[in-house]
């Protein structure tokens, strides 16, 4: 108990989370009279999970893309096809953000890379400032549910090595499960955008513009098909899809289009690998801490405690969402995954929730956490990027928060939406 409080204090003080987690593991092993070397042996299991290869490769590809002119072409492309509709430019923002986030996984990157394009474009087209800010800030984390987003991969990795029962599942199940819930979120935001801007002046659809945009984007257009087609058809393993993507993006952006000078590559590598190192070291130490928790029977104790007070699944799910929203506001999605999935998944399974469905609920709710006041990360990134006070962003995101909250509730209470496609 004292240890837990000390760890929470360390975390709130701002100690890197991997240090906090490994401190817990070290103390736990010490108390159980286990050689502390066990922490390193567990950590070394990072080198025994082939699927992790996908994480550095996809991150690298994502950073390369966001540093090139690809975001500009992505916006031009979607605009050519959707810009004519009322609220069209808003839909462009939603789709472009979702696509880029699925690829980069870290949504901070999306706001930085696309915000600079979308925000002025929407302002010029006459969208109200708060609608504009709110849309971009909340769309910045959209797309986490689509393959090959890193959080989906990470959830599958963590859940599989836990071995806690429930129906076994594969990474492909996760990828399939995210499709409809992700589309639901996009759809609900799109309807809202249309409704808010239905009286707006329209532009005409132009074939010439569409053709030009397709031509401009000709090198990037095959990417979604290669990645998604390869993964969803099962032709590529996820790490192979990642290698193909990274190699293709490197060739196109650096050697064919020459938008990224060779000399900038080390810097881009470094920036993307800082993210990867930060995530993987947390994953590594959590392999040790999870062991301590499970050996100590902590998930069982929590389950016993909760099931004494909460008897039905629906109440549990509601409490879960409230808890995850609070958590998401202070913790980034990667740390939340490695810390909370080992604790919560066994409990969820105890309530008869499918592990795949639980994963989708977890990620969808954490996605909202990105812009939950007071400290959701995207609020601060957007505030910094658009030079607006955080208070204004709190206000601007409110309607979007409730729309996406509604979609999270639908996703939670309608398991078939997540499980239907994989036939679970």
């Amino acid at each position: 108990m004292i240890l837990t409080l000390v760890l929470i204090f360390m975390a709130l003080l701002g100690v890197p989370l991997f240090v906090v987690i490994v401190t817990g593991a070290l103390v736990g092993f010490y108390q159980a009279d286990i050689d502390l070397m066990a922490v390193i042996i567990e950590f070394y299991r990072l080198a025994e999970m082939p699927v992790l290869l996908a994480i550095p490769l996809f991150s690298f590809a994502g950073y390369l893309l966001s540093e090139s002119q690809a975001p500009r072409r992505l916006v031009a492309f979607t605009e050519a096809f959707l810009g004519w509709a009322p609220g069209g430019l808003a839909m462009v923002s939603i789709l472009a953000c979702a696509l880029l986030t699925a690829l980069t996984g870290a949504s901070g990157v999306t706001i930085v890379a696309l915000g600079a394009l979308l925000y002025p474009a929407m302002a010029q087209a006459g969208y109200k400032e708060n609608f504009n800010l709110g849309l971009i800030t909340s769309a910045g984390s959209l797309g986490l549910l689509f393959a090959p987003a890193l959080p989906l991969i990470l959830y599958a990795v963590i859940a599989q090595q836990l071995n806690v029962g429930g129906r076994p599942f594969t990474l492909d199940d996760m990828f399939l499960a995210g499709v409809l819930p992700g589309l639901l979120m996009i759809g609900m935001l799109a309807i809202w955008s249309y409704w808010k801007n239905r009286h707006q002046a329209r532009t005409r659809f132009s074939w010439d513009k569409a053709k030009a945009a397709v031509w401009q984007a000709k090198w990037e257009l095959p990417l979604p098909f290669v990645i998604l087609g390869g993964i969803y058809s099962g032709y590529f393993a996820i790490s192979e899809a990642a290698a193909v993507t990274a190699l293709y993006v490197l060739l196109v952006e650096v050697f064919i289009l020459r938008e990224i000078p060779l000399g900038k590559l080390p810097e881009i590598t470094r920036e993307s690998m800082i993210l990867v190192g930060g995530i993987l070291i947390i994953l590594g130490v959590s392999l040790a801490s999870t062991n301590v928790l499970i050996d100590g029977g902590v998930p069982d104790q929590i389950f016993a405690f909760i099931s004494a007070h909460v008897t039905d699944k629906l109440t549990f799910l509601t409490l879960l969402i409230v808890f995850l929203l609070l958590l998401g506001a202070i913790l980034d999605i990667f740390s939340a995954l490695v810390l909370m999935v080992p604790l919560l998944l066994p409990i969820a399974i105890g309530y008869g929730i499918d592990p795949v469905h639980f994963g989708i609920i977890f990620l969808a709710t954490m996605q909202l956490g990105y812009f939950t006041p007071p400290v959701g990360m995207n609020l601060f990134i957007a505030s910094y990027r658009f030079n607006k006070p955080v208070m204004q962003l709190y206000q601007a995101t409110v309607p979007f928060f409730f729309i996406l909250l509604l979609s999270v509730l639908i996703i939670t209470y309608w398991p078939a939406l997540s499980l239907g496609l994989s036939g679970r």
């Binding site: 991997f18 070397m37 993210l275």
Partner: protein, 159 residues
């Protein structure tokens, strides 16, 4: 060589190694796909090598994250803490991290000594302790950086 120049050289080496490892990873992963599809074969040790490269990327990435103060943490307190407590908070945060990383460094050295004694092989004829060297290297480097930051000797600078 002055200490600053040594630092720069080390940082350049770190960044370069990171880029090299990623390139190696990309080449081997791609080569494997080509071999599998065209020749239905593969390099036997390419799988274990790739897994080790992932570990190296993780450690090197974490080392650079330490250098640039980019580890994932909860950045809540510093937004509300009065300014005069910032120095104290930084000393505490980095000091604690430095000590814990030192413990990890020591344990990984013991781990390597054990693997060396037992003569475990990683792949081909390469002893396992060689690729595992990145563990103590990484934790020692992180520990030293954290401790130097905690002493506040290098204010506003990366080490």
């Amino acid at each position: 060589m002055s200490s600053t120049r040594l630092q720069h050289a080390l940082q350049r080496f770190e960044d370069g190694l990171l880029a090299f490892i990623l390139l190696l990873m990309l080449s081997f992963a791609s080569a494997q796909i080509v071999m599998r599809n065209l020749f239905s074969s593969g390099i036997v040790w390419s799988d274990p090598l790739l897994k080790i490269l992932v570990l190296w990327t993780a450690m090197l990435g974490a080392m650079v994250a330490t250098r640039q103060h980019h580890h994932i943490n909860i950045d809540l307190l510093s937004k509300f803490l009065p300014h005069r407590f910032h120095a104290l908070q930084q000393t505490l945060v980095h000091g604690l991290s430095g000590i814990i990383c030192a413990v990890l460094a020591w344990q990984s050295l013991r781990f390597i000594a054990l693997e060396w004694e037992e003569g475990t092989l990683a792949f081909a004829a390469i002893p396992a302790w060689i690729p595992e060297l990145i563990l103590p290297i990484g934790f020692i480097s992180m520990s030293l950086r954290f401790l130097l930051y905690s002493l506040n000797l290098q204010r506003d600078r990366t080490i």
